[in-house]
Symmetry: C2
Subunit: 333 residues, 2 copies
């Protein structure tokens, strides 16, 4: 299969969506924007930095790349309509690799209701992907990071810390010996954001929303900054047991029984993953306290006015106190 | 300046546009789409493949990256509204480099009427850019590649072959000793597509349109295929003299007087550049013969019915005959 054949095959595996007027194959795509505006976000994924080909299959990487951008659209309260994918792969990869990646992209796009409408391809020394997602607000106002108000509750839809725990298991070379641990590794490889919770939150009157891509503390920090409020989490509401606790125990044992991890680095705790693990792409939002939240939204804290006299209360706190542990993952660290 | 400082500075250099409702800084941007649909295209630019940092400044590369995607939107007959930019740069580059690149992106986006509304950044071993452009059709139908009809004329807006000639001069290490040659090098570094000619063509009733990114023959080949027509160019209408002729003469002399180019490769001709040079991002379109074309549209040929009995007439021909020279540049060659 020649290179043009690969492109043709890729195109065949990336179906248009219900709002696609002109799909892949012309200079540009045309996508319906029924509410008269379009929501758009782009994310870059680089091999070695955002994924490893020996830890994730091509299909997994396609799912993950799509999920990352699709979650951004959902976090505005919008419904996903379309993806555009720029992809570069090394020439030595078999044609089956980009095709499996396309299948992963297409499957996750379809789960969010989006078609794949455009793309570009090139050769590079390592795999790189740039995924642009487009969405429609269906007449709603976008839910920004800046609308949180004192008195609101903080609620999350989707899991926290599972992707980070799965990554920690992969990094330590731990074989997942139980369904619970295997589920964490799968959550790292194929995140499954609750896309439909985004428009749902907008409809319920969410005042601010973000997707958890860099860690709960870091992403809530963006809401705190943009909204000029303080956010206080209830420690008891943060579920850091179950599979996360099991993974932490296994990793602790690994650290003390082998040399695969430096013995002087403290073992991660389940709470660390919940607070600082990104890439689950769950949605966290603030709502007026009077809103009746559907069961998938779990209240985890409250929005408070900033108390500039008490510096420890500024930003994101836990049970009213600053968090002493790691503060979340940052790009460009 | 730390990495977050660079991102903040980048953001400050990428202004929103007139149709930007929510710009850089939230999970996603919101851009108005007044006609109820959005036109979207993405292009990938990789260092070493699409540009060289020793031949182009950061500002030039920004202009070029923006132009490439903006031209795709114009080629649909749409007005550009927004760009989203994913950018990775090596850590050793000074902060001034991505900032100058942002200035180039912003300047070219502004020339097309678009704002820069979103982005993502990362580190990589070499520079890579993915630019997504969004546009609005203002109520017009998109001009596809598939609408060319026998009897239409073929017309082009913008120059042909200038970027390729400039690249040939740079590749051969020829110093531009005249304004004409310097103009070709500048055309390679900073293409200047005639964006407004795209919506103009749509308004005039263009039946098919494409931007010349891979070469006139290759790109007209896409129209011929999609429209199931034959396209015949008038050799006399293709301006292969002037600066292009001067560049060809200088290069021929260089080839025979030095070893910088293998002596057995034939020197390029000006016509080769006109027919196969990409990256000028001029617009080529087919129009009903009755349309009065504004002066920037130069008629260069006619659309004919496919004559399946005469294989030499199929595809794109020149004065009725198949072109014997190189057939245009292809990605993934």
């Amino acid at each position: 299969m020649g290179e043009w054949g690969v492109i043709a095959a890729l195109t065949g595996r990336m179906p248009a969506g219900p709002l696609t007027s002109v799909g892949i194959g012309d200079d540009a795509a045309v996508v319906r924007a029924p509410s008269g505006s379009v929501v758009a976000a782009v994310d870059l994924l680089l091999e070695g930095r955002h994924f490893r080909r020996d830890w994730s299959s091509a299909y997994d990487i396609g799912v993950k790349a799509a999920a990352r951008s699709l979650a951004d659209i959902a976090a505005m309260g919008a419904v996903n309509t379309a993806l555009l994918v720029a992809l570069a792969v090394p020439g030595e990869l078999p044609a089956s690799w980009p095709l499996a990646l396309a299948d992963g992209l297409a499957a996750e796009a379809a789960r969010a209701g989006a078609g794949i409408v455009g793309g570009d391809t090139a050769r590079a020394d390592s795999v790189l992907l740039s995924v642009t997602a487009l969405g429609d607000l269906a007449g709603r106002r976008p839910v920004l990071r800046s609308g949180g108000r004192p008195g609101d509750v903080i609620a999350v839809a989707g899991p926290l810390g599972r992707s980070a725990a799965g990554l920690a298991l992969l990094s330590a070379g731990v074989t997942a010996t139980s369904d619970a641990l295997a589920g964490l590794v799968a959550a790292h490889r194929r995140p499954s954001p609750p896309y439909e919770a985004g428009p749902e939150a907008a409809g319920l009157g969410a005042t601010a929303m973000i997707d958890v891509s860099d860690g709960l503390l870091a992403d809530l920090g963006h809401i705190a900054d943009a909204s000029a409020v303080a956010l206080d989490l209830d420690r008891a509401s943060l579920d850091a047991g179950g599979p996360l606790g099991e993974a932490a125990a296994v990793l602790k044992e690994t650290i003390y029984s082998s040399r695969t991890v430096p013995a002087d680095s403290p073992p991660p705790t389940a709470l660390d993953w919940v607070l600082t693990g990104g890439e689950d792409h769950s949605l966290v939002a603030t709502f007026p306290a009077t809103v009746q939240l559907p069961s998938r939204w779990r209240v985890i804290g409250q929005v408070r006015a900033v108390d500039y006299v008490n510096v420890a209360s500024v930003g994101v706190t836990i049970d009213g106190a600053a968090h002493a542990g790691p503060g979340g993952w940052q790009h460009f660290r």
